[in-house]
C-alpha cells in the first residue's frame, strides 16, 4: 500500500534522527521554550475541545428534535466544517481588525473599546481557541447527532413515565448510550488539534511573543524555516505521545464512568 510506503519512510527517517543523537530529546526537555510550547499546546487542545464538544453537543441536542426547517439549520450549522483553515484564519483577522473590523465596532459601541485581539499577548490564545471552535464544532455536532439518533425513543418514554426530568434523562440515558461516540469524537478532535498547523500559521504565526506557538507549529517552523529536521522529528514524537496520553485518558475516564 502506498500509505505504508510513506509511513515506512517516515520511520526510517526517524531512526536516522535518533542516530544523530538522543541529545535532540535532552536538548528539548532542558529548553524552557519547548516546555512553554507544550503547555500552550495542551491549553489550546483542552480549550478547543471543551468549546467544540459543548457547542457541538448543545446543537446536536437541539437539531435532534424535529422542527420546521431543521434540515436547513443543520446544513447552515455544519457549514464552517467545509471552510478551509486558511480562509477561516484570514476571515477572522478581517473580522477582528482593530480599526475596521465589525467586532471591534460592536465592542466600542457597547463601551468596552477596541481591542487588538491578535497582537495582544493575553488575548491571542483565547481568540485563537474561539476561532478554532468556530471551525471545528460542526464535526462534533455531526458525529454527536448521528450518535443521538441511535438512542431508542422507548428509553425516554419509559423515563418520562417514571417522572424523570429532562436534565436527569440527559445524564442518565443520553450520555451513557452515546458514550462511545463521545470518546471517538474526543479522540479524533484531539488528534486534529494537536497536529494542526495551517490555522495557527496563518492566523497568528505563533506570535505575539510566541504566545500561540503550539508544538505542531514549532515542528513546521523547525522543518521549513530552520531546517532542523532532527529536532522537529523529536517534537513530532512528543506530539504522538501526547495524543496517546489523551486518548488513554478519555477511554479510562469514560470506561470507569460506565462501571459505577
Amino acid at each position: 500500500m502506498y500509505s505504508f510506503y510513506v509511513s515506512i519512510h517516515a520511520t526510517d527517517y526517524l531512526r536516522i534522527g535518533k542516530y544523530v543523537g538522543l541529545r535532540h530529546y535532552i536538548f528539548l526537555f532542558s529548553d524552557p521554550v519547548f516546555l512553554r510550547d507544550t503547555f500552550i499546546s495542551v491549553k489550546y487542545v483542552i480549550g478547543s475541545l471543551i468549546g467544540a464538544m459543548g457547542l457541538g453537543m448543545a446543537l446536536a441536542l437541539v437539531l435532534n428534535k424535529r422542527f420546521p426547517f431543521s434540515e436547513f439549520f443543520k446544513t447552515i450549522c455544519a457549514l464552517p466544517w467545509v471552510i478551509s483553515q486558511t480562509v477561516t484564519a484570514l476571515l477572522w483577522i478581517w473580522l477582528l481588525d482593530p480599526s475596521f473590523g465589525p467586532i471591534n465596532f460592536l465592542l466600542e459601541h457597547i463601551g468596552i473599546g477596541a481591542i487588538n485581539f491578535i497582537a495582544n499577548e493575553s488575548t491571542a490564545l483565547p481568540v485563537l481557541i474561539c476561532v478554532n471552535v468556530w471551525m471545528s464544532y460542526p464535526f462534533a455536532m455531526i458525529l454527536l447527532l448521528a450518535g443521538l439518533q441511535t438512542v431508542p425513543m422507548e428509553l425516554y418514554e419509559a423515563a418520562k413515565i417514571d417522572g424523570a426530568s429532562s436534565i436527569q434523562m440527559f445524564f442518565q440515558i443520553t450520555l451513557p448510550v452515546i458514550r462511545n461516540t463521545i470518546v471517538a469524537t474526543c479522540i479524533m478532535l484531539t488528534f486534529y488539534y494537536f497536529t494542526m498547523v495551517t490555522l495557527i500559521y496563518t492566523f497568528t504565526g505563533g506570535g505575539p511573543m510566541g504566545s500561540t506557538e503550539v508544538l505542531s507549529l514549532r515542528v513546521f517552523n523547525e522543518t521549513f524555516r530552520y531546517w532542523r529536521i532532527g529536532g522537529a522529528a523529536a517534537i513530532g514524537i512528543v506530539i504522538l505521545l501526547l495524543n496517546a496520553i489523551f486518548s488513554i485518558f478519555y477511554v479510562r475516564v469514560v470506561g470507569s464512568g460506565h462501571e459505577s
Binding site: S84, L91, W134, T181, T198, V219, T223
Partner: protein, 259 residues
Amino acid sequence: MSIVALSPLVWALLTSLKPNTQIMLFPPVWLPDPIVFDHYKEVIFGSNMPRYFFNSFVVAVVAIFITLALATHTAYAASRFNFRGKEKIMFMILTASMVPVISLLTPLYLVWNQIGLYNTFMGLGLAYAAWQVPTAIWLIRSFIDAIPREVEEAALIDGCTQWQCFHQIVLPIIQPGLAAAGILTFIFVWNDFLFATALTISEDRRLIQVGLYRYLSDLGVDWGRFTAYTVLATLPIIVMFVTLQKRLLKGLVAGAVKG
C-alpha cells in the same frame, strides 16, 4: 447559532461587493452601496487566481482517481475474501492515517525530490491520495458490507468471474459510497494548505489555498480583493456541500463510527 456560523461568511460576501472607499471606514458600513463587482473582475482577470483554480481542480481529480482506484479494490478484498491477518492489516492501514501530517512532510519532501515528483501535479495528487486512502477504504468497505452476498453468488453461478462480478455488480451498487469518498477527497485537496506549500514551489503549480495566503503577503492586505478571492475559492465547496450534504454526512459518519 446559525447566525454565528454564517456571519463571517456573510461579512466577507458584503465586503467583496463594496467599493474600496467603503471598506476602510469606521464605523463600518454594513451594506455595500452601490454594489460593485470590481474586486471580482480584478481577481478573475487581473491575477493568477484562475490558474490556481485550475491547478487545484487537476490535483483533486488525480487524487480522487488514485484514492478510489486503490480504496475500492482493497475494500472489496477486505469485505469479501478471508486471508490471514486481514483484520490486523486493516487496523494498520487505519493507524497509518493517524500519523500527524507535519511529520510526514519532511520525508515526503525529500523522497519526492529524489524521484522527481517534487513540484508536479502527480506528486501532489499521490500525496493527497496516500493521506485519504485509509479513510476511503473503511468508508467504502462499510458500503460493500451492506450488499447481500447472495447477489454476487447468483452472478458467479451464472458464469461471471470474480472480476466481472466486482465491476458489473458491486461497483454500480456502491456508487453513493464512491461519491462520498470522492467528495471528501475533493474537500480535503481543495482546502489543504500544508501539502501544497511543502511540495510545490513554482507559480504555475500553486494551489488555491496557497495562492490565497500568498495573495495577502504579496500585495499587502487589499481586503476587497481578498474577500472576493475568498468567496470565489469557497463557493465550489459550499455549493457541493449544500447539494450533497445528506450523502456526505452519512459517509462521514459511517467512516468515523467504524474508525
